[in-house]
């Protein structure tokens, strides 16, 4: 068998395992639009846009908004295994075009969903390492001896500067938490396999916020295996007004950073107003999962033809 054939079979096999996994659990496959009329407002995501019949369209960075609208329309549990696009992201584990497996489960919270993510990973990758679970706070205390929930910008900055020369002027906690992650946590997780849950509220994205041990946390989780971020999930925010406020906050940040505001997706907001059922959802980097399970050292090997070959 040629290397190419073997690679293609691995990818195809992983797809069929995913489809069987969800078929057995009654989660329905849906196809989300690839070119949407609206883009996400995420401060750190850039959508690729183009014109179709003189109207702007945006290659979707994830199927999240489409799937949430379907949930509000009564779809029940659904998943999508499809191609998404993100500008400005390329590297060993990043490709501007990649395959995202995203699914939503009614009545689940983020802990229920972590259990299911673990089962799915093990279905695709039976020899996956066992997955530990740490709260974000535990992880920062363990590797950096600093409290990620309560430390001030000055404290986070001082900790970062102890680790590495850095002269950034950013004044928001999210930036310093992310920098500390990159220089202090991720390198320590190169040999680890774990879920990280309950993030600082600044990193809530689309997760609901709640109290845990007398502190406010975002009910969000990530799965990291060998230092590679494999999945990001939320116990989903269902409050339309809170969602509208987060869109506005994102846009204020984007404007300050010179990235320009994005017109919020009013269809998502009206779907939330109509009523998004209580649910948890997760996006998993399918190509990364294939690569890790096959022992590939870069995401490019998990594509039939990679970005550089396309």
């Amino acid at each position: 068998m040629t290397d190419t054939r073997q690679r293609l079979e691995r990818i195809a096999h992983a797809r069929s395992v995913v489809r069987d996994f969800f078929a057995q659990r009654g989660v329905l496959e849906v196809t989300a639009p690839v070119a949407g009329a609206r883009a996400v407002t995420d401060p750190q995501l850039e959508s690729i846009s183009f014109q179709v019949m003189n109207q702007a369209r945006y290659l979707q960075t994830s199927p999240e908004f489409a799937l949430k609208r379907l949930l509000a329309m009564g779809s029940g549990d659904i998943y999508s295994l499809g191609t998404v696009f993100r500008d400005d992201e390329q590297g060993r584990w990043h490709s501007p075009e990649f395959t995202m497996l995203e699914w939503y489960r009614l009545g689940f919270d983020h802990h229920d969903l972590m259990d299911e993510v673990e089962s799915l990973v093990r279905s695709v990758w039976p020899l996956a390492p066992s997955l530990k679970r740490f709260s974000h706070r535990e992880l920062f205390l363990r590797y950096l001896a600093i409290d990620s929930l309560t430390s001030s910008v000055e404290q986070l900055k001082a900790r970062a500067q102890e680790l590495q020369d850095c002269a950034f002027n950013e004044t928001h906690r999210a930036f310093w938490l992310e920098l500390l992650w990159v220089i202090g946590i991720e390198p320590a997780l190169k040999q680890e396999a774990c879920f990280v849950y309950d993030f600082p509220v600044e990193q809530a994205a689309l997760a609901r916020i709640g109290r845990r041990d007398s502190a406010w946390v975002a009910h969000r989780f990530e799965l990291v295996i060998n230092g590679v971020e494999l999945a990001n999930g939320f116990w989903e925010l269902t409050d339309a007004d809170e969602q509208a406020r987060r869109f506005e906050a994102d846009n204020r940040f984007r404007e300050q950073a010179g990235r320009g505001a994005i017109v919020p997706d009013e269809r998502l907001l009206s779907a939330l107003r109509q009523g998004l059922p209580e649910c948890a959802g997760v996006a998993l980097g399918f190509d990364r999962l294939v690569a890790l399970s096959a022992g590939y050292q870069q995401i490019a090997d998990a594509f039939a033809l990679s970005w550089d070959q396309a």
Binding site: D88, D165, E178
Partner: protein, 190 residues
């Protein structure tokens, strides 16, 4: 010099950081979940030789450094400086002891080596991977010690001391691997 953005950082690119020329060794794009994108960069400070690890926001840029490697012929030393000549332009360059560092142990007149110029001045000198040098001092060889193990120190014409097999004698020319400082063989007779 031109500016280079983080997505142009390739191994070997020479850039300025904190006033020193640096050579990029490794550049990794990292983006914590939905967060700021960074580039984790390892680079060698060409002035000190030290390896730096720095993290940049993706899209940040650094000024290029005017650093070029040239193949040159080593001419001589006057005790303070070492003199090299570009075999194409015949231009001569003087390198101080800091730039030459330990490389003087492998410099033989008329040999070629790599001279790294920074703003036109030698920053470092890299010897050829293999050089042939004469042994000026070593214990006499013992009869019968031909192929069996065992070695002894030998001082070369440049001052370098390398371990050589027992059968090699004073006055012989040997081939040395400059990367490891190890004896390779007796030099082929020319």
């Amino acid at each position: 010099m031109a500016n280079y953005s983080t997505n142009e950082f390739r191994p070997g690119l020479k850039v300025m950081l904190d006033g020193d020329p640096c050579s990029i060794l490794e550049n990794e794009f990292v983006k914590p979940g939905k967060g700021q994108a960074f580039n984790r960069v390892r680079m060698r400070n060409l002035t000190t030789g030290r390896v730096w690890e720095r993290t940049f926001k993706s899209g940040e840029s650094l000024e290029g450094a005017d650093v070029m490697d040239h193949t040159m012929e080593y001419l001589y030393t006057d005790g303070e400086f070492y003199y090299f000549m570009d075999p194409v332009t015949f231009e001569q360059h003087q390198a101080d002891k800091k730039a030459v560092g330990e490389t003087y142990l492998w410099l033989k007149e008329q040999d070629t080596c790599e001279v790294t110029l920074y703003n036109g001045t030698p920053l470092s000198v890299t010897p050829a991977n293999f050089v042939e040098l004469e042994i000026v001092e070593t214990d006499p060889g013992l009869k019968g010690d031909t192929a069996q193990g065992g070695n002894k120190p030998a001082r070369l014409s440049t001052g370098a001391v390398v371990k050589v097999p027992l059968f090699v004698t004073q006055g012989e020319v040997i081939k040395v691997d400059t990367r490891s400082g190890e004896y390779v063989s007796r030099a082929s007779k020319s």
